[in-house]
Every structure is written in structure tokens, then in C-alpha cells.
């Protein structure tokens, strides 16, 4: 029997049981409910009847109170209690009461009206009695009133007795009804219990059947489970034992066919995996041309195979591009553009960047060699010309040197002669000195003689003065004698003549004296002149003396100089001899240099033809003015490829670390140093761009490290690494531009 049938059987069984149970329970509960409702009703009727009994008693008490106290307001209370009675009565009469009770209650109610009328009368008489008493009525009239009350009280007691009897009989009837219903209720409960016990037994049997069926199903499941467990525990695939022909049996069968399918799929996948291993083996060996051709059975494996194929394809393309670039470098084509592959980052990008740096470095070096070689060719040409000139100059020099040697010999002999002449001159000069000394002595003597002459002349002058005075006095005396002679008249005539003669003599004396004086003065003047001449002569001799001494010194100097000249000439002679030898050596060297220059030219030509066979970036020439800068900056380029590779290698999930800041790496230090040194290119816009790009690059490498560390997805990591490649390329371009800019600056300065 199938589990489905078993389950259906169980469901049917339990449905029937459920219906029986529900029916039994429903009937029992209905019965219980009915009997308990009836019982409750009987209890309620009993309760109401007791209340009715109490109400009747209460009416009597209220009426008696009014009658005794005479309280006319008590009548309202009485009416209220009566209304309560009426309510209770109408309630009871509408309830489910049996016929005898109903008859009794209706009889009771009929008697109640009489009872109440009597009660009301008794109360009214009581009030009247009290009113009569209050208004002072005594005696017989008052006693009549009391009597009326008392007689009415007797009626009331009678009615009350009768009503009470009715009530008691009703209660006893009801008591019997109550007992009847209680007994019926008990019977109902007993009946319900019997049904419950029967149902419980049926349920117990059903439960046993259920357990048996479940056990039967479970044993099938256990067998299946053990079969599956055995499958997962062992590598080998074994079939599950089919023990039943129910659904579990079907599951086992289906499972077995599923296992068969898996086995087939595994076989298929194994073929794919075997092929994949072959292809990967080739890839490991560097052969990228094969792809995995077989179809995998599962989607996941198929997807993996496709991804592996696309990985091989991409890597092959990347490596081909790289290989082509390297081949171009190998073929000395340093100007072929290294392509940028879109979306490539990491090591492959580093390889391409490395090739690019190599290319630009080689280009720059080639440009440098080209520039230098062109200059070298020029220099070698110049050197050839110069060495030829040197050679001919050396020959000319040799001839000139020979002439010089002859001239030197002549000069030497001239100098020797000069030396001798000087010696002679010195002797003559000494002699001149002696003559001059004699001249000087004579002049001195002349001077002294002149002084003496001057003194003598002055003495003559004094004598002449005396003569002049005598002549003057003689003139006066002659004048006096003439006057005396005139006075003497004739007697004195002759005397007058004598006097005249004397006077003539006197004037002639005076004249003679004057002439002498003039002569003396002239003599004096001449003497003075003679003295001056002799003084000048002395001075002249002195000067002559000095001059002669100077001449002697000069002659001595000349003599000495001549000797020195002679020595110098000897030296010159030996120098000229040396020069002669050197010139000959020069001439031979010039010839050697010429040969060397020629071979240099040849080498330069060879080098040039080698350079010409390469092709390099034409722009490179504009960047190579500063050799140190080329190599320093190209090192900074490859430093950054290295920096990126090293940090990328260390990237992994959970490993957080700090990469070097942009100010800490070699390029950062170079940037700082260039700024401190105030290099001209640091003021350019280009420089700012280099700093920004460099800074951004370091930041992005740090982003990569952190994204890896915090386990971000490929998309996030790759967008950053791709941007890093952009920054690296940017830095490379900018560095090249900077070199060019620096060369432009240097060129402008020149």
C-alpha cells in the first residue's frame, strides 16, 4: 500500500472518528445543557417563590408598623412593596411553571387582593386612631377606633396564614419538581461520561493504528536516509536499496537515477576538467593558443570554463601586445607607441608601464648619444684640421727656432761687447770725475778772488767818495776865492783867474771821480757776475759729478745686466734647444693626433650609422639637455611602478597598513628639495600638476589597500586600480613634459 493510500486511510479513519466524537459530544452537551437549563429555571422559580413569601411577610410588617405608629406617609411604602409583589408575581407567572403551581399561584393572587385590602384598611384605621388621639378624642370614640384596628388585624392574620399556606404548598410542589430535574440532570451527566469513555477507547485504537502506519513510513524514510548518508560519507557512488513500492521506493528509484545522472555529469565535467588541466598546463608553460572546448554539464562549471577561457584570451592579448612592444624595443624601434590597454591594471599594467619607461629612457639615451655623436663628429673634424695645422705650425716653429738660435748667438756676442764697452766707459767716467773735481776747485778759487776783488773795488769806491767830497769843497772854496777876488777889484783880478782855474780843476776832479766810480761800479758788477758764473760752475760740476756717478752706476748696471743677459741667453739657448726637441715631438704627435682624429671620425660615423638604424621618439631630443635629470627622473618613474607592485602584493583582506605618503617617497623628497633649491621649473603650472597627480596616486594606492583590507568587491577595487594606472601614466607624461620645459628654460638662458 502506498503512503498516499495509508495517509488517505488515516485521514478517513480520523474523519469518521471526529464525526462520531463531535456527534456524541454534541448530543451529550445538548442534553446536559437542556437539563441544567431546566434545573436552573427550577432554582430560579424557587428563589422567586421564596422572595414572594418574603414580600408577603414584609407587607404585613410594613402595614402593622403604619397601624401602630399612625404614620400616614407609610402608605406610599406599602404601595411600593405591593408593586414589588406585583412585579414578582408577573415574573413568576410568565416563567415555565407546571400547572399545579400555576393554579396555586393564581389562587394565591386572588387571596392577595383581599389580604392587601385588609392590610390597607388596618393601616388606614391606625392612622385614623392616631389622628383622633392627636385631636384629643378620648373615651368610647377613641376606643372604637382602636377596636377597628384590632379587628382588622385579626383579618390580616387570617389572610396571611392562608397566603402562607398557599406559598408553602407551592414551595413543596416546586421542591419535588427540583428533585425530579436534579435526578434527570445526574442521569444526563452519567450518559455523557459513558459516551466520553467509549470515544476515548476508539481514539486509543486509532492512535495505535496511526503509530503503526507512521512506523511503517518512518522505516522507509530511515532506509532512504541511510542510503543517502552512505552516499555522502563515501566517495564511491552506490545505489540505494529499494525496500518498498510506495513513494519512498519511488524516491529511492528517482534518487538512484539522479545519482546516475550526477555520475554521468561528473564524467562529463571530468573530461572538461582534464581538458582544462591540459590547457592550464600549456598556459603555465606560456602557450596561450588553446581554449577549453568541451561543454561542462553544470551551469556553474560552464560559467567557470567560460571565465577561464576569457582569462586566457585576455592574458594572451595583453601579453601579445606586450611582446609586440618588446619586439619593437628589440628591433631598436624606440618610437613605436606602447599601447594602453583599456581596463588593465596591476602587474600587466606595470609591465606595459615598465616597457614604456624603458622605451622613453632608451629614447632619451639614444637622443643623448645622437646629440653627443653629432658634436663628436664636429669635434673630430675640428681636431683633424687642428692637428694638420699643428703639424705645419710645428714645422714652421722648428725653422723659426733655428733662426732664433742664430740670432741668440749674435745677441750673445753683442752683449759680451757691450759688457766690455761698459767697463771702458766706467773707467772714462772715473776720469771725468777727477777733471770735474779740479774744475770745481778752480771755480771755487775764482769765486774767492772775485770776493776779494769786490772788496778792493769797494775800497776804491770809498777813496773816490773822498775825492768827490774834496772836489766839492774845492769848488766851494774856488767860488769863495772868486767872490773875494771880485771884492778885491783889480787887485784880485789875477786871483780870480786862479780861482777859476781851481774851480775847473775841481769840476774835472769831480768828473774824474764820477768816471772812476762808474768804472768801479762796472768792475764790481763784473766781479759779481764772475762770482755768479763760478757758483754756477761749481753747481755745474756738482751736477756733473752726480751725473757721472749715476752714469757709473748705470754703466755698472749695464755691465751687470750684460752678465745676467749672458746667463739668460745661455738659458734661452738651452730652452730653444729644448723647444726644438719639443717641436719635433709636437710634429710627430700632431701626426698621431691626426691619425686618431681620423679614426675617431670613422668611429663617430659608425656610431651615427648605428644610431640612424634605430628610431626613437623625436620629442626625446627636446628633453635631454640635462643628463643627470634624465636618469634621476626615469628612476623616479620606475620607483612608482615598483611602489605600486609592492603595495598591491601586500594587499589582502583583513590586512590594513599605511603606504608611504607622497612626501615620503624619493619623488616626494626630490619635489621638496627642488622647491627648497628654488629651481626655476618649480614655479610652473606643470609643477603643481605633477604634485597633485603624485599626491592623488599615493592616496589611491592607500584606498586600494583599505578596500582590499575591508573586503570590498572587485568592482570597487578595480575602479580604484584602473584610476591608479591613469595617474601613473599622467605622472610619466608630466615628468617628460617637465624635462622638456626645463630644457626650454636652459635654452632661453643661453
Amino acid at each position: 500500500m502506498t503512503i498516499k493510500k495509508k495517509s488517505l486511510l488515516l485521514v478517513t479513519l480520523f474523519t469518521i472518528l471526529l464525526i462520531i466524537n463531535a456527534g456524541g459530544v454534541f448530543i451529550s452537551l445538548n442534553k446536559i445543557e437542556l437539563s441544567s437549563t431546566q434545573l436552573n429555571e427550577q432554582h430560579l422559580i424557587n428563589k422567586k417563590l421564596l422572595l414572594l413569601k418574603f414580600n408577603i411577610k414584609n407587607l404585613q410588617e410594613v402595614a402593622t408598623d403604619i397601624a401602630l405608629v399612625g404614620d400616614e406617609y407609610g402608605l406610599d411604602d406599602l404601595e411600593n412593596v405591593k408593586n414589588d409583589y406585583l412585579d414578582l408575581y408577573s415574573e413568576i407567572i410568565t416563567m415555565n411553571i407546571n400547572e399545579s403551581i400555576r393554579n396555586n399561584i393564581e389562587n394565591l393572587n386572588n387571596n392577595f387582593n383581599k389580604y392587601f385590602t385588609s392590610l390597607k384598611n388596618m393601616a388606614t384605621y391606625g392612622i385614623q386612631r392616631t389622628l383622633a388621639y392627636d385631636s384629643g378624642i378620648r373615651g368610647q370614640a377613641f376606643d372604637d377606633k382602636i377596636m377597628k384596628v384590632n379587628s382588622e388585624m385579626i383579618f390580616v392574620d387570617e389572610y396571611s396564614e392562608s397566603l402562607n399556606n398557599y406559598i408553602e404548598s407551592i414551595l413543596s410542589i416546586n421542591e419535588k419538581e427540583l428533585q425530579k430535574y436534579t435526578a434527570s440532570n445526574d442521569e444526563t451527566i452519567h450518559y455523557a461520561m459513558t459516551i466520553t469513555i467509549i470515544l476515548t477507547i476508539i481514539f486509543g485504537i486509532a492512535l495505535i493504528i496511526l503509530i503503526l502506519i507512521i512506523k511503517n513510513i518512518l522505516s522507509g524514510i530511515t532506509t532512504l536516509n541511510e542510503g543517502v548518508k552512505k552516499l555522502s560519507d563515501s566517495d564511491e557512488t552506490s545505489k540505494i536499496k529499494v525496500i518498498s513500492n510506495d513513494e519512498l521506493g519511488n524516491i529511492s528509484l528517482n534518487f538512484n537515477s539522479y545519482i546516475e545522472k550526477i555520475e554521468k555529469d561528473l564524467e562529463k565535467d571530468l573530461i572538461v576538467i582534464t581538458e582544462a588541466r591540459k590547457v592550464i598546463g600549456k598556459v603555465n608553460a606560456g602557450l596561450y593558443n588553446d581554449r577549453i572546448q568541451q561543454k561542462a554539464s553544470s551551469n556553474a562549471v560552464e560559467k567557470l570554463i567560460n571565465e577561464i577561457n576569457s582569462m586566457i584570451e585576455t592574458t594572451q592579448n595583453n601579453l601579445t601586445v606586450l611582446s609586440e612592444s618588446l619586439i619593437n624595443l628589440a628591433n631598436a624601434k624606440y618610437d613605436s607607441k606602447i599601447p594602453r590597454i583599456e581596463g588593465v591594471t596591476g602587474l600587466i599594467a606595470s609591465l606595459l608601464n615598465g616597457a614604456s619607461v624603458t622605451q622613453s629612457t632608451v629614447s632619451e639615451v639614444m637622443a643623448l648619444i645622437d646629440n653627443s655623436n653629432k658634436r663628436l663628429t664636429f669635434s673630430a673634424n675640428d681636431l683633424t684640421v687642428a692637428s694638420t695645422e699643428l703639424s705645419s705650425a710645428s714645422n714652421t716653429q722648428a725653422a723659426a727656432l733655428e733662426e732664433t738660435a742664430a740670432a741668440i748667438e749674435e745677441i750673445t756676442s753683442t752683449i759680451t761687447q757691450s759688457s766690455e764697452n761698459a767697463a771702458k766707459m766706467a773707467i772714462f767716467a772715473t776720469k771725468v770725475t777727477q777733471s770735474s773735481e779740479e774744475g770745481k776747485n778752480l771755480a771755487n778759487k775764482t769765486s774767492i778772488s772775485m770776493d776779494e776783488l769786490s772788496t778792493e773795488v769797494n775800497t776804491i769806491n770809498d777813496a773816490i767818495t773822498i775825492i768827490d767830497q774834496i772836489a766839492f769843497q774845492t769848488n766851494i772854496l774856488s767860488l769863495n776865492a772868486a767872490v773875494e777876488a771880485a771884492t778885491a777889484g783889480e787887485a784880485g783880478k789875477g786871483f780870480a783867474v786862479v780861482a777859476q782855474e781851481v774851480r775847473n780843476l775841481a769840476s774835472r776832479s769831480a768828473e774824474a771821480a764820477n768816471e772812476i766810480k762808474a768804472l768801479v761800479q762796472s768792475a764790481n758788477k763784473k766781479a759779481q757776475e764772475g762770482k755768479t758764473v763760478s757758483s754756477q760752475m761749481i753747481q755745474g760740476f756738482d751736477e756733473l759729478d752726480t751725473n757721472i756717478n749715476t752714469t757709473i752706476d748705470l754703466i755698472n748696471d749695464v755691465a751687470n745686466a750684460s752678465k745676467e743677459q749672458e746667463a739668460a741667453m745661455t738659458q734661452i739657448n738651452s730652452t730653444v734647444n729644448d723647444l726644438d726637441k719639443a717641436t719635433q715631438t709636437n710634429a710627430s704627435l700632431a701626426s698621431d693626433i691626426n691619425t686618431m682624429a681620423e679614426s675617431t671620425k670613422t668611429l663617430a660615423l659608425q656610431l651615427q650609422s648605428a644610431v640612424d638604424r634605430t628610431s626613437f621618439e623625436s620629442d626625446a631630443k627636446r628633453r635631454v639637455c640635462n643628463t643627470n635629470m634624465i636618469f634621476d627622473l626615469n628612476k623616479l618613474k620606475s620607483d612608482h611602478i615598483n611602489f605600486k607592485n609592492n603595495n598591491f602584493c601586500a594587499c589582502k583582506e583583513g590586512h590594513s597598513f599605511k603606504v608611504k605618503k607622497s612626501t615620503e617617497c624619493d619623488m616626494g623628497q626630490w619635489i621638496t628639495k627642488s622647491e627648497v633649491d628654488g629651481l626655476e621649473f618649480t614655479n610652473s603650472k606643470l609643477w603643481e600638476e605633477i604634485k597633485t597627480t603624485h599626491n592623488r596616486f599615493h592616496n589611491m594606492v592607500q584606498d586600494t589597500v583599505d578596500l582590499y583590507s575591508e573586503g570590498y568587491g572587485n568592482e570597487q577595487i578595480i575602479v580604484v586600480t584602473e584610476n591608479i594606472e591613469l595617474q601613473i601614466n599622467g605622472i610619466f607624461d608630466l615628468i617628460d613634459q617637465l624635462k622638456e620645459y626645463n630644457c626650454d628654460l636652459q635654452f632661453k638662458k643661453k
Binding site: S656, K658, R696, N699, M700, Q702, D703, D706, L707, E710, Y712, E715, Q716, I718, V719, V720, N723
Partner: protein, 126 residues
């Protein structure tokens, strides 16, 4: 208003879709901004935008990343409790596996002198 200064190793990351709706925020970002992650997801990114930031700065940002270029700059953001913090942000545009445009913003502790320069610049822009 209280300034939150980021730690030296701070790394705040958030992602938005092409409309600027936050699709991801890392723990550090939530902690600094003062939001729980569920308060940020599906909210527009300008939830954390500070009023001192000039419009021109964000115009520049959107212009760059819409043309698929990385944007970087100094940004003042506000926290949930009304404070603020400065970051040096790099915004990367990219497409996810489903081809949808996404923007990832990586933020770090900024250099103080650069922040001061940015403050002066932003005053002239706003």
C-alpha cells in the same frame, strides 16, 4: 557646533546610485555621521551635506563624475546631531555587475592647512 576630527587612519566609504541615493555606507562612515545604517540607505546623499559647502563645489563634483572622471576635494559634512567634520574625499564613478552607474566616495582625514585654504576658497564661492 561641534567639529568631529577624523582619526589618522580613518577610511569612510559610501556608495550612491546615479541619482545620489545612498546604497552603501561602511561602519566608520555611519559612526562619524552619527546615523545607523538603515537611516542612511535609500536616503539622498545630501542628507549629510553641510550648508557651508558652496553649490559650485558639488556642481564641479557632479560634472566630473558624470563624465566618468575621478573627483577629489575637501568637503565639510554635517553629522546627525548638527555637528560637522572635514574630509578629503575621492569619488570614483563605476558601473556595477548589472551595468548600473555607481559612485563610490572614499574619505580620509584631511591636511589642516589644506582645509583652511578650502574654507577661504569656499567663502568666496558661496
Amino acid at each position: 557646533m561641534k567639529e568631529t576630527v577624523l582619526s589618522d587612519n580613518a577610511f569612510l566609504v559610501s556608495e550612491t546610485n546615479s541619482k545620489g541615493i545612498i546604497t552603501f555606507a561602511n561602519e566608520q562612515f555611519c559612526n562619524v555621521a552619527g546615523y545607523r545604517i538603515e537611516e542612511l540607505i535609500n536616503q539622498p546623499h545630501n542628507l549629510i551635506r553641510h550648508s557651508d559647502m558652496p553649490k559650485a563645489a558639488f556642481e564641479d563634483l557632479w560634472k566630473s563624475i558624470k563624465s566618468d572622471k575621478v573627483w577629489e576635494g575637501y568637503v565639510k559634512n554635517k553629522t546627525k546631531n548638527g555637528g560637522f567634520y572635514w574630509v578629503y574625499a575621492t569619488v570614483y564613478p563605476y558601473k556595477n555587475e548589472d551595468g548600473e552607474q555607481c559612485y563610490m566616495s572614499c574619505r580620509r582625514k584631511p591636511n589642516v592647512s589644506e582645509v583652511n585654504k578650502a574654507i577661504d576658497l569656499y567663502k568666496t564661492l558661496s
